[in-house]
């Protein structure tokens, strides 16, 4: 850590980890209700549990991006953050809004569009939070050095905020509602969030591999070009069956198939840079998360996305557990792991901590990641059976659900394993180890590459 104001990132990273814990707890709860459907059914119905599960995820990921930006911008721009005080106010406003939303959900106060359930006042609060961030970060960027990493990151965060404005537009015509709803949902996660992902990975590669900035930033532009050139028209794969014209099947088939390419490019990029750099960075755990992120994003978003993206396949799989399988691994691989990578990298510097409990963190990595992979497999099997019985043979929905009950048990098991892994990761990041480092144990004391 070179700049004092980077410290504000701590608020965001701890806040994000808190909401991460809530997200996973509610996920396990939802998985439990799948196998014990009478559990809490009158006090806390499934729709509320799921709402908290998905909303906590989205908010903690965003909070993590803000934290990453506040950590990375001073080093990239070689200047202090424009107003650290504003950043702290912004954090508390965001945290209070998120907390108020969750408490409101528990009492049945919510709107009704998936992922955009926040009551109007909370949505307005989110916009204010975003404006505070954009002002603060843009002023920082303007007074300092402008690098490709900081430019791409800021373009992405501006677009995140602009696209969120579509959350305020809710036409009475359901087909129109759905078409513009994807402007937020798809263009975030399969569009501009990929820019955030690529720029943070690029930052981590510069710091940890020592490869020349020129090389890395050229790769960055190529990766983000691939992301948006495929991802924007890739929206077509959501416009197959909601009342939009038939030509979206052609557009969706072609461009969403190509959406695999940027994810593959990110895998190649990360591994090539580590190989090329040949540098032995002491924070092995951060490197593991970075490489793991690119690989799991490729499988979760890329391969599992491609599996059901062709309209001829999607006609049968749309809205089955196949979608759930893809959703879980894509969010975990791309965005959860991205955040954990930058947290694992930054927190030891922010806390001026040595030793950093890397072994525990890496145990958490392997347990969480394998459990998420297993969860994805179980949901995929459930989805394949469901697709065949329901969509091909025409068996009734509830009857089919009984047939796949075994997979929901296995999903609950993997959910519990995820929870254990997450506890290890969070523990390793938040709790200071009491032991003094043994001789030979890795110490995070090396300076960043530049």
């Amino acid at each position: 850590m070179k700049y004092q104001s980077q410290k504000v990132a701590l608020y965001y990273m701890y806040g994000a980890l808190t909401l991460f814990a809530a997200q996973v707890l509610f996920g396990v709860l939802a998985g439990t209700v799948y196998v014990f459907p009478n559990l809490l059914s009158e006090i806390l119905p499934f729709n509320i549990i799921r709402m908290i599960h998905t909303n906590a995820l989205i908010v903690w990921l965003l909070m993590g991006y803000f934290g990453a930006a506040y950590y990375l911008l001073p080093e990239e721009c070689e200047t202090e953050i424009y107003s650290p005080k504003l950043a702290i106010i912004q954090f508390w406003l965001f945290m209070v809004a998120a907390g108020a939303a969750v408490v409101g959900y528990l009492f049945g106060i919510h709107e009704g569009r998936e992922f955009l359930e926040q009551p109007l006042i909370i949505k307005v609060g989110i916009v204010i939070v975003a404006l505070m961030f954009l002002f603060n970060a843009t002023m920082t960027l303007l007074k300092g050095r402008k690098t490709a990493i900081s430019n791409v990151l800021m373009v992405a965060l501006w677009l995140v905020a602009l696209l969120f404005l579509f959350a305020f537009y809710n036409p009475s015509n359901l087909a129109l509602d759905k078409m513009y709803w994807w402007y937020v949902v798809h263009l975030w996660v399969e569009g501009v969030w990929e820019l955030i992902m690529a720029s943070i990975l690029a930052f981590l590669m510069i710091k940890m591999t020592g490869v020349d900035r020129e090389v890395i930033e050229k790769w960055l532009y190529v990766m983000v070009s691939l992301s948006l050139f495929t991802g924007i028209l890739g929206t077509g794969h959501h416009y197959y069956w909601i009342g939009t014209p038939g030509y979206w099947q052609w557009i969706g088939n072609v461009f969403s198939t190509l959406e695999v390419v940027p994810f593959f490019a990110m895998v190649v990029f990360c591994f090539y840079m580590v190989w090329k750099g040949g540098r032995d960075h002491p924070n092995k755990a951060a490197l593991l998360w970075s490489l793991g992120c690119s690989v799991m994003a490729f499988f979760g978003a890329g391969v599992w996305g491609f599996m059901h993206t062709l309209s001829a396949v999607n006609y049968y799989t749309h809205g089955t557990q196949i979608t759930a399988a893809h959703g879980h691994l894509a969010f975990y691989g791309a965005y959860v792991m991205l955040n954990l990578a930058i947290f694992t990298y930054a927190l030891p510097y922010l806390r001026r901590r040595e030793p950093f409990n890397q072994q525990l963190n890496m145990w958490g990595f392997w347990i969480t990641t394998s459990a998420m992979a297993f969860m994805t497999f179980t949901l995929t099997f459930a989805g394949v059976v469901q697709t065949h019985l329901q969509r091909v043979l025409g068996m009734g929905y509830m009857e089919v659900q009984d047939q796949v009950a075994l997979f929901y048990w296995m999903r609950l098991g993997s959910g519990v394993a995820v929870l254990i892994g997450v506890v290890l990761v969070v523990w390793s990041l938040v709790v200071i180890p009491r032991r003094v480092p043994l001789a030979g144990q890795t110490r995070v004391v090396a300076r960043p590459a530049e």
């Binding site: 059914s41 359901l174 087909a175 983000v224 014209p245 809205g319």
Partner: protein
């Protein structure tokens, strides 16, 4: 990566290409907007009751258990075609009564069965919600879902 591609060239490709694809996308969205309003949905039947039904659908967050045109949670049946599944095309009154009766007995409390909450909708509200589901079932969805099971 090739030495011929400079960083500034890569940057220009990124910004230029993004603007190009955005313009194409916005153009297609505009066309789709008009298509939805004039071809795939029947806006003349988008009555105040259908709109009120959509708000009831949203107020109770039905989407976080059910799917609607395949989007939503995957915990409860697809409702985009529930009107068709309940025989509303041949016997609208019968389908309406069956749907209302179904809503009235929730939650069933049957052990081991997924529970739908009791939303305590009034009779006019139930009519509005069903109007919304009926309207939705008539959207031209390129023949999705494949069968009545939804």
């Amino acid at each position: 990566m090739s030495e011929r591609l400079t960083k500034s060239a890569a940057r220009n490709i990124f910004y230029g290409g993004t603007i190009f694809f955005l313009v194409v996308f916005l153009g297609l969205t505009l066309h789709s907007h008009i298509y939805i309003k004039t071809v795939s949905t029947d806006e003349s039947k988008l009555s105040p009751s259908v709109v009120a039904g959509k708000h009831i659908w949203e107020r109770h967050s039905c989407i976080n258990c059910h799917t609607l045109l395949g989007e939503g949670a995957y915990y409860a049946p697809e409702l985009g075609n529930v009107w068709v599944r309940y025989g509303g095309e041949d016997d609208p009154e019968g389908a309406r009564d069956t749907l209302k009766a179904w809503m009235a007995v929730q939650p069933t409390g049957i052990e081991g069965r997924r529970q739908m909450p009791q939303f305590n909708l009034t009779d006019p509200e139930l009519d509005q919600l069903i109007d919304f589901l009926e309207w939705t079932s008539k959207i031209d969805t390129q023949n999705w879902p494949p069968n009545e099971a939804g």
